[in-house]
C-alpha cells in the first residue's frame, strides 16, 4: 500500500509524455507548480487544469492512477479546507449559526486551495508516473552539471538518489517484517504516552539500521563486481536528447503560463 506511493510507481507505457526529455519534464513541473500558486483567478486556474489535462491525455496513464495519487494527502487537503472555511473571516457571511460564520470569500479561498493542492500533487506524480527513477536522476544530474565547476559531486548525488529510490520498497518491506517479528515477541507499539511509544520504536530501528548496513556492504561488492569505478569513462544507455517533442511541449506550456502571468499582472494593476 504505502510502497505504491510517490516512488517506484512508474507506469510502463510508451507515450508522448514518456518520451519527453526528463530535464524538460522536471523544468515543466517546477514551472507548473509556480503557475499554480500564481493563479488566483478561475480563468488562470482553468488554464493550469488544461495544462494538466493535456499532460494526462498525452501520457496514456490511466486517469484513476493520477487521481489516486491524491489519496495519501487527502486528509491534509480536507483538514486545511475545514480550517480555511472556519477561520477565513473576510467577505460577507453567507452562513452563520452558533459561533460559526462562513463567508463567501472563505468558500472561494477554500476551494481555490483544495484545487491548487490537488493539482500540485497530480502534476508531480504525473512526472514520476511517466519517468523512470534512473531517467529522473539522470535529468537532475544533467541539470546540476554546472555545479561540477565548484567540485560538487553531481554524479555521486544522482547515483545516491537512484539507489535510495531503488531501496525504498525493500526497506519498507523489511520494516513490516521487523514490526511483525517484534509484535510476535510481544512488543507493544500502540499503548503508552509519546515517550513510551518512541521507546518502543527502538527495537524496530536498530535491526533496520543493522540490516541496511549489511545490505550496503553487499551492494558495494555487487557494484565493484560489475566494474563500477565512478563517473570516469562511464557511458549512458539513454542519452538525454531534446527533440521536437520537447519543443512542442515547452511551447504549449509556456504559452499557457504566459497567459497565467498576464492574468495575474492584470489583476494586480487593473488600470492597464
Amino acid at each position: 500500500m504505502l510502497r505504491d506511493v510517490a516512488f517506484g510507481q512508474y507506469y510502463p507505457v510508451d507515450s508522448y509524455v514518456h518520451r519527453l526529455d526528463p530535464r524538460v519534464k522536471l523544468i515543466l513541473v517546477v514551472l507548473f507548480i509556480a503557475a499554480i500558486f500564481l493563479s488566483s483567478s478561475w480563468a488562470a486556474l482553468g488554464a493550469c487544469a488544461l495544462l494538466l489535462l493535456f499532460g494526462v491525455a498525452f501520457s496514456r496513464v490511466a486517469v484513476s492512477k493520477v487521481l489516486k495519487s491524491i489519496k495519501p494527502i487527502l486528509f491534509l487537503i480536507i483538514f486545511s479546507a475545514v480550517l480555511n472555511l472556519l477561520f477565513y473571516r473576510e467577505g460577507t457571511p453567507v452562513l452563520s449559526f452558533w459561533i460559526i460564520q462562513i463567508t463567501d470569500r472563505a468558500i472561494r479561498f477554500t476551494v481555490l486551495m483544495a484545487v491548487r493542492l490537488s493539482m500540485l500533487i497530480m502534476g508531480s506524480s504525473l512526472l514520476t508516473l511517466t519517468t523512470t527513477p534512473v531517467a529522473l536522476t539522470d535529468g537532475i544530474e544533467s541539470l546540476l552539471k554546472p555545479l561540477k565547476a565548484v567540485r560538487f559531486p553531481v554524479h555521486e548525488l544522482a547515483l545516491i538518489m537512484s539507489i535510495a529510490l531503488r531501496f525504498i520498497p525493500t526497506l519498507m518491506e523489511e520494516t513490516d517484517r521487523i514490526i511483525n517479528a517484534q509484535k510476535a515477541r510481544g512488543a507493544d507499539f500502540e499503548s503508552g504516552n509519546i515517550v513510551a511509544r518512541a521507546k518502543a520504536l527502538l527495537p524496530i530501528l536498530i535491526p533496520l539500521l543493522i540490516s541496511a548496513f549489511r545490505r550496503a556492504n553487499e551492494l558495494s561488492d555487487a557494484m565493484d563486481s560489475r566494474c563500477y569505478t565512478g563517473s570516469k569513462g562511464r557511458t549512458k544507455m539513454k542519452k538525454l536528447k531534446v527533440t521536437y517533442r520537447d519543443h512542442i511541449a515547452l511551447f504549449v506550456s509556456l504559452n499557457i503560463m504566459a497567459f497565467i502571468i498576464i492574468d495575474k499582472v492584470m489583476a494586480l494593476f487593473p488600470a492597464i
Partner: protein
C-alpha cells in the same frame, strides 16, 4: 585455456586492524583464524565447476578472491594470466569474472529492469546502442524478454535472481560465479536459475563456478571442489566425490538423495553400485536388479 588459477592461496579477514606484514602476524594466530588456507586449484575455460562446503567453510571468500574483491595474504590468484594483485589489471579481471551473489535484493542498483542490466555495460564504457542490444540479449539468455520495463520489486525471487544474472551477463564475462545464488529461492525458482546456468554453460561455453550447499546442484557440474574450514579437502567428478559418503558426512555434508539411497541399499547387502547421482539413474539400476 586456463581461466582461473589459485596457487597456495591463504586469506584471513583482518579483525585486528593489524598493519604489520602478514609474515610477522602469522605467528600470533592459530590456523583457525584463516578463512582460506593454502588452496590450489585450476579452472579451465568452458568448465562447469561446483564448490561445496558447509557454512563458514570459506566458499564466499574464495568467490570474492576470484575477482579481486579480496586479495590473498599469501599465494597468487591468476585470472586469464593476470594476477589479482596488480591493481591496474583489476578492471580487466572484473570484466572477465562476474559474480552473482546470494540475495538478489542487494545486487540491483536501479528500480527498472533495463536500467539495472545497463549498469554494468555503462561502467565499462560501451556505446549506448550496443548497451541496449546487450540488455535485450541478456534478458533473452535468462528467459525474461518481456520484463525490460518492469519494476524489480514486483518480480518473484527467481525472476529477480535471473535479472541479477542478466546484469552480470550484459558485461559479457568469460566466467560466471554464482555464490549460493539459489539459496533464497523456492524449488521452482531454483530450477529456473539452474536451467539458465546450465544452458549458458552448454550452449555458449560460459565457464561457470557454482557455489552451493545443495548436493543435487553440485552434481550438475563437471567437477566438484569440496572445502572444509578453509581447506580444499576433495576434488573430482561428482561421481568420485559423492562416492565418499562417510567422509562427506564427517565434514557436515551429505550426498544427493539417490546416492544416499543407493548407499543404504548397498549397506543392506543389495548388489548395487553406489555412484549414482540422479533418481532416474537410481531407478534404472534398481530395475536392472529386478
Amino acid at each position: 585455456m586456463e581461466a582461473i588459477r589459485f596457487d597456495n592461496v591463504t586469506f584471513r579477514y583482518n579483525q585486528t586492524g593489524d598493519l604489520r606484514p602478514p609474515e610477522e602476524v602469522l605467528t600470533d594466530f592459530g590456523p583457525s583464524d584463516y578463512a582460506v588456507r593454502g588452496i590450489s586449484f585450476s579452472i579451465q575455460k568452458g568448465e562447469f565447476v561446483a564448490i561445496l562446503g558447509h557454512n563458514g567453510s570459506g566458499k564466499s571468500t574464495v568467490a570474492k578472491l576470484m575477482n579481486g574483491l579480496l586479495f590473498p595474504e599469501k599465494g597468487t590468484i591468476t585470472v586469464f594470466g593476470m594476477s589479482t594483485r596488480e591493481l591496474e589489471k583489476l578492471f580487466e579481471i572484473r570484466k572477465r569474472v562476474g559474480i552473482v551473489f546470494q540475495n538478489p535484493d542487494n545486487q540491483m542498483i536501479a528500480t527498472i529492469v533495463e536500467d539495472d542490466i545497463a549498469f554494468g555495460p555503462e561502467n565499462i564504457g560501451i556505446e549506448p546502442d550496443e548497451i541496449s542490444r546487450r540488455v535485450d540479449w541478456a534478458l533473452r539468455c535468462v528467459g525474461m524478454e518481456g520484463y525490460r520495463m518492469a519494476s524489480s520489486f514486483r518480480l518473484s525471487g527467481g525472476q529477480k535472481q535471473r535479472i541479477a544474472i542478466a546484469g552480470v551477463l550484459a558485461i559479457q564475462p568469460q566466467v560466471l560465479v554464482l555464490d549460493e545464488s539459489t539459496a533464497m529461492l523456492d524449488p521452482l525458482g531454483r530450477k529456473e536459475v539452474l536451467d539458465v546456468v546450465k544452458s549458458l554453460n552448454k550452449q555458449q561455453g560460459m565457464t561457470v563456478v557454482l557455489i552451493t550447499h545443495f548436493m543435487e546442484e553440485a552434481s550438475l557440474a563437471d567437477r566438484i571442489i569440496v572445502l572444509n574450514d578453509g581447506e580444499k579437502v576433495l576434488e573430482g567428478t561428482p561421481r568420485q566425490v559423492f562416492s565418499r559418503y562417510d567422509y562427506l558426512k564427517s565434514i557436515g555434508l551429505s550426498v544427493p538423495f539417490a546416492a544416499k539411497v543407493a548407499r543404504i541399499l548397498k549397506d543392506k547387502g543389495v548388489p548395487i553400485e553406489a555412484d549414482v547421482l540422479t533418481t532416474e539413474e537410481l531407478f534404472e539400476r534398481i530395475c536392472q536388479l529386478l
